[in-house]
C-alpha cells in the first residue's frame, strides 16, 4: 500500500456511507485534504442495500453513483477500505488516530473480471444480504461495489481455494501475502459517520423472530426486492417460497421502548409505508398489507406519502402495538393484542410478518477521546469544540435526506477547525 500522508490540516472521515461520502466530498471540494476510512470492502453503506428510497422511490444507484463519480474525480480524497479506527487521542487541530487495515488479498490490478470467484468453491454467509444468501470465498460485495475490486475471504487464504483464486487471476491481482497494517494518522479534525446497524430483532422476545420462519425484519424485506438479491427480486415467505397474501408490518419493533432502543428510529414508519408500495407493485390486489402502529411518524413533506398509502384499499392500519406473536397453521402466525381505537381484543392471522426494526447507532465504546459527548442513545452530541463531529446516523436516527444535510454541517465544522490550524501555522 502506498504511503498515507496526513497533517493536522487533514480532515479524517470515518465511515463511507451516504453521510461519510457527503462529508468527505463537501470538504474535499472546498480544497481540503481528506482521508475517508471505510470498514467494509466497499463504500455505500446501508443505502446500497435498499431497493428504492423514499420519498421519491428512486433506486439507490441514483444518489450513490453521483457520489462515486465525484469521489473518483477528486484528488483531495484518499479512500482506504477495510480500515477501522482503533483509537483517537489529542485535541481539535491535532489528533492522533490509530487505524487497522485488514488485508483484502487483492491489489489494484483487479479488473473485477470475476475469474477468481469462478475458481473457488467454498461459500459463506453473504453479509450484504444479511446472511439470506451465500457468497463465494472470492467475491465482490455487490454489483454496485466501489471500488470495483474483488475481496478474498481470509478463511480461504491458507487453503486450496486461496491457491486456486491466485492461479485463476490473469492480472496478478491476487496477493495472498498481504498483511494487516497498523497506521498512525495525524489529522486536524474528525467526522464520525459510521452509521447504524439494524436492531437485533431476536431480542424482541414476544415477536419470535428466532422462532418463526415467516417473521422477518424490514432490512431483510428490502433485500428480497433486489433482482440480484436472495430471492431474485421476489417477495416470498421464507418457510415455503410462496408469495404471501396477507402481510403484517409491526412498527416500533425495538424502538421507543425502555427494554430496547429508547429513541424513535424515525425512518421505520416511512420504510414500512414505502414497503407497502413494493407489495402493490409486485403482487397488486393479491396481497393485503396491515400496518400495526402506535402513531405514524411521517413528518413534514413526507406526510403526502402517508396519505397516498392510506388511500390504497389494500393497506389497512391498526392502531395498536402488537403484544405478542404465536404460531398458527401452515407456518402462518397469529398477532395478539388490543387496539387503541375501541380497545378490541384481536388475534389476527398473517402469512408473513415484517418487523419494522429500528436503527442502532454504531458509535464504538472506548475509541473516541473523553471530550466527545455521547448521549444515552449512543449518538454523538452536537458539541462544537471537540474537533470530532458526528454525521448522519452517528448523530441521530436520520433518513438519507437529513443524513446528507447533517453530514454537510459536520464537514463545515471540520473545515473551520483545519482552517484555523492553517491560519495559525501561516
Amino acid at each position: 500500500m502506498s504511503e498515507v500522508i496526513a497533517t493536522n490540516q487533514t480532515i479524517l472521515v470515518v465511515g463511507g456511507g451516504i453521510s461519510g461520502l457527503t462529508a468527505a466530498l463537501e470538504a474535499a471540494e472546498c480544497g481540503k485534504q481528506v482521508i475517508l476510512l471505510e470498514k467494509a470492502p466497499s463504500v455505500g453503506g446501508r443505502v446500497s442495500q435498499l431497493y428504492k428510497y423514499f420519498p421519491k422511490l428512486c433506486f439507490p444507484t441514483c444518489g450513490l453513483e453521483i457520489q462515486y463519480r465525484r469521489l473518483k474525480a477528486n484528488k483531495n480524497v484518499r479512500l482506504l477500505t477495510m480500515a477501522e479506527v482503533t483509537g483517537v487521542t489529542g485535541e481539535a487541530g491535532n489528533f492522533n488516530v490509530s487505524v487497522k487495515v485488514s488485508p483484502r488479498y487483492v491489489n489494484e490490478n483487479c479488473t473485477a473480471c470475476g475469474e477468481c470467484e469462478k475458481a473457488v468453491s467454498t461459500e459463506f454467509d453473504d453479509e450484504f444480504n444479511y446472511g439470506m444468501k451465500k457468497r463465494k470465498g472470492a467475491y465482490l460485495t455487490s454489483a454496485m461495489a466501489y471500488p470495483q475490486r474483488y475481496v478474498i475471504d481470509p478463511r480461504i487464504v491458507a487453503g486450496d481455494d486461496g491457491a486456486k483464486a491466485k492461479e485463476a487471476c490473469k492480472y496478478n491481482a491476487v496477493d495472498l501475502e498481504m498483511q494487516e497494517q497498523e497506521l498512525s494518522l495525524n489529522v486536524g479534525a474528525v467526522v464520525w459517520a459510521t452509521g447504524w446497524k439494524p436492531y437485533d430483532a431476536a431480542k424482541i422476545q414476544p415477536y419470535g423472530y428466532d422462532r418463526y420462519d415467516n417473521v422477518i425484519s424490514n432490512v431483510e424485506f428490502e433485500r428480497m426486492l433486489d433482482p440480484f438479491g436472495p430471492t431474485g427480486g421476489k417477495i416470498v415467505r421464507p418457510s415455503d417460497g410462496q408469495a404471501p397474501k396477507n402481510i403484517a408490518f409491526i412498527q416500533c419493533a425495538g424502538s421507543r421502548d425502555q427494554n430496547h432502543l429508547k429513541h424513535c428510529s424515525r425512518i421505520c414508519c416511512m420504510a414500512t409505508l414505502k414497503q407497502t408500495t413494493y407489495i402493490k407493485e409486485q403482487l397488486g390486489d393479491d396481497c393485503k398489507s396491515t400496518v400495526y402502529y402506535i402513531d405514524i411518524r411521517a413528518i413534514d413533506r413526507i406526510d403526502d406519502f402517508h396519505r397516498m398509502v392510506k388511500a390504497d384499499p389494500n393497506v389497512t392500519f391498526v392502531k395498536s402495538k402488537v403484544a405478542n406473536i404465536t404460531g398458527g397453521a401452515d407456518d402462518n402466525v397469529l398477532l395478539n393484542g388490543v387496539d387503541t381505537e375501541g380497545y378490541h381484543r384481536y388475534r389476527n392471522e398473517h402469512d408473513l410478518v415484517v418487523l419494522a426494526t429500528g436503527m442502532e447507532s454504531t458509535v464504538p465504546a472506548g475509541v473516541l477521546p473523553t471530550g466527545v459527548e455521547i448521549n444515552e442513545h449512543n449518538f454523538i452530541e452536537l458539541d462544537s469544540d471537540s474537533g470530532i463531529y458526528g454525521a448522519g446516523c452517528s448523530s441521530d436516527a436520520l433518513d438519507v435526506n437529513r443524513a446528507a444535510q447533517n453530514a454537510t454541517a459536520a464537514a463545515l465544522r471540520a473545515i473551520q477547525v483545519v482552517t484555523r490550524v492553517a491560519g495559525q501555522e501561516g
Partner: protein, 208 residues
Amino acid sequence: MSNPNQAMVEKYRSNFLKEVEANVEEGHWVKMCMQCGVCSGSCPLGPHWEHPPQEIFMMIRAGKREEVLGSSSMWMCTSCYNCIARCPRGLPITHIMHGLATYAKRLGLQPKTQPTAKFSQLFWSNLTKTGRVNELKLGLSLYFMNGFANGIKTALKMQDVGLGMYKTGRLNPLEILGGHSIKDTGGLQKMLKKAFEIEEAKIAEYKG
C-alpha cells in the same frame, strides 16, 4: 348548575388525574402511558377485564372517576408482571392496579360483590389483629366467605390440603384459640392508626 357547559367541565375535570397522582401508589406514572396497548394484549386475564389497563389509564386522564374507581378491573390483576416486563414506557402497571384497587376500597367505591376485594379485607383484618397471619382462621374465614353451606362444602373439599399442611407443620390447630402474635401488638395498632390518619389527610385534599 344550569349552564350545560359548566356541567360538562365539572363532569370531566382533569382533577381526577391529579387525585390519582396524589393518592394512588405509583399514580404519578399514569401520565406517561402512550396508549400503545401492549399491556392489555399481554395480560393473561385480558378477556375477563371490564377495562384493560391501557383503557383505565385513558379513563383516568379523561376524568372518569366513578367508572374507574367502581370498576372490577383492577381487582382482576394476578400480579403476573407480564405488563411491567413489556411496557415500552416502563410503567409499573401491576403496582398502579393494586394502588387503584386499594384507593377505591378506601373510598368505599369498589364493586360490592368483588371476591378479591372481600378476601383482601379478610386478609388485612387477620394480619393486623396480631401482626401475624393466622393461617387457620384465615382459611376458615375464606371458606365461609360465601355463606355457611358453601363453607362446609369447601372445608370438606380442602380436608386433604389442611391435613398435609398440619403434617408439615404449616398449620397449627391450636391457632384457633388466638394464635401467635408479635411482641407489641398495641404498638403495631398505633402505627397503623397513625399511617391511616396521614393517608386520610392526604386523601381529604382531593376527595371529590
